[in-house]
Amino acid sequence: MNSIQSRRFVATAAGVLALSVAGSVSAQWAPTERVTMVTHSAPGTGNELMLREIADIWNKNKIVPRQVGVESITGSQGEKARRYVTFQNKGNPHMLATYTPQSLNLPMLINSDTGWRSFTPIALMAVDPMLLVVNADSPWRSPRDLIEAAKQKPKQILQGGGSYGSSASMSGKIFEDFGGVQFSYTPFRGAGEAIPQLLGKHVHFMMENPAEMAQHVKSGKLRALAATEKLEQLPDVPRFQDVGVNARFPKQFRGVMAPQGISAEAAQYWVQALGKVRETQQWKDYVARTALVDSWTTGAALVAFFEEEEKTYMRLNKEMGLLKTPK
């Protein structure tokens, strides 16, 4: 327990350090060896492809003077990658890692010391929009209809999605709280396995990224009722606030973190290098192609954002009974 405490302390110190440099002038540090970007997701998945894109842009445009490579360390719910980055590579300025809501929430759920405070926050690059869909044969035409249905039949309207604690389940909870009703959340192994269940009418609705669902909406099997953002792919889908659902859904963000204990100059260097990525046409094309929403948060604002998200997740974890009491 002692070691965990001290690690937390170091981490917070690093966070404060990163904070203080955010406003300072140009960085004096530059990479002197090969740079590795680590993701906890498998090759070919969204996060890994994003890192590949960033690495490609850096290498091609010589934004970063050394070769940049991508490494995928899967397993143990991302815990392996997190440990590798922030403990085994503590103080290594030549390493970066992807950061997602799962990376933020899982350490809380399993009471691990790899929380966001044990990393050096660099930047938030993009946000995945979230889409509310039902089967096209169902009678529901707006989020309000679903709430009405749940009022008629409490707990009998089923939401499908990834595991408890995923941002889909959190969004469902917030939707419940907004409507003052109760749905039943049915967890599957990721959105991919939940979609056939929605197509086969075994569950009633889903709240997930458009990536896997958009084509089923386009082919007319599923109906999208609302989204957190205006989508280029599905221009007819209204935003939640447009249909009167004013709830704050957790953001499906894609961030970049560095290991704890790197110098303030190095942190600042990576913020600038990522900032340059956003200016390239290749990045703009990538964001458009993958239906991401461009987003940019760094420094103090990023720390504040993580604090806010942490609070939201903590509250939801407690309300959903997911949190184990620390021993």
Binding site: P43, G44, G75, E79, S163, S184, T186, L322
Partner: protein, 503 residues
Amino acid sequence: MGDVLPLLMGGFETALQPQNLLFAFIGAILGTVIGVLPGIGPAGALAMLLPIVLNMNPVGAIIMLAALYCGAMYGGSTTSILLNVPGESSSVVTCIDGHQMALQGRAGPALCIAAIGSFIAGTLGVVALMLFAPRIAEWALNFGPPEYFVLMVFGLSSVASLSGGSLVKGLMAMTLGLMISTMGTDVTGVARFTFGVAELLDGIEFLIVTIGLFAVSEVLLNTNELRGGEIRSVIKHRIFISFREIRDSLGAIGRGTVIGFFVGVMPGAGAGIASFLSYSVETQVSKNPERFGHGEIRGVAAPESANNAASAGAMVPMLTLGIPGSGTTAILLLALTALNVHPGPMMFSQHPEVVWGLIAALYVGNVMLLVLNLPMVGLFVRLLYVPMRLMLPVIMVICVVGVYNANQQTLDLIFLCGFGVLGYYMRKNRYPVAPVILGLVLGTRMEEALRQSMIMSQGNPLALLDRPIVVAFLLLTLVFLCAPVILKRLRFRGRKVELETEG
């Protein structure tokens, strides 16, 4: 059918270009080699090749991956038969009769029937994929969590045919497998039996248990025999299969194909379950069920056909819904997505060249494997002439490297040894080890499906019985469990009557 032919021809045109044939050839060879190594199954093989393939042209990449997939699927059977070392879940069942055949000097026919069965099932599977994919995908949507649950229950009933002598010992072994399957993070995100160890969050990987229980225990058993001065007499091995053996196996291959394809279509069910089920069905329909477990050729033909048909079946949800049916198709799907081809309902119209290229590549891959592997049977059988004292260390090294390579965790190696010792004592005391794998493969999915079903019905188990598929599978399970007992009774009574009339 009319509009399918020209598209398929177009696909063949692509697949048969010299460059693409070369890709298919490389894929098939690599796949077979990788499949032979225990520890690296088809999914692992694809994952390893993925970074390389991502820089190739999409069609070539997909052809290579498809051939690799077929190859790895086939390669797994070789070590199962020759060394009793299964490389993946789908070749565990092949060990049971396959290795017995090898011990009796019939390694050649066993390998041949595995190749022929794989070829026929693979080819028929692709035909079914080509003709009925959208319709079958539609049908598979009827499978909700309750249906998955009873499918898994039905799968568990095959423990009866895997237990050999004692059903009680088989059930104990299966329970152990079910217990191991509860380790790790469950579907609701709660970590169970992880003892605060981060490496256990994913549970104990199925691969470690399989290789430990089968391969490491095999090494230990053989070492024991060597030290005891027992020298296994060198058996003259027959290399080629007789026409009669092929004719006898055709029924098993056909049934294996049908079962494999339909189980493969269900996302998440997978080739492992298909092979267990087909073996179980074979023992039920056979006139001589007592021969299974003692080198029955149908016991090799059925599961090997089933796992290849399942891999074709797993393509159905991937191509039509954009949903992977297995770990391997998940990686294939990633490859396609990374190449900017998005499988799903629009794929047949948006990227016909890729779909039909893939289908043609699967045909080509299957033919190539048969042509490559039949002549190799003679070579592979020679492995059995390598003295045990040289062979055992090699097997051990391959196992350790294979397991370590999967996750790069030293803890896995400790588990490997643990399961090796456990397997040794189980086999010494005549406990069957295959049911452990059965429990492990089915357990996680079964529990998940049950919990999902209970959420759906607000905790009312009787609500499951409203669904016709559920009832059908439950009845089938009942038949499978009771049939052997009843048949035995009937036969016994028949004989008794005869005796009486004689007396």
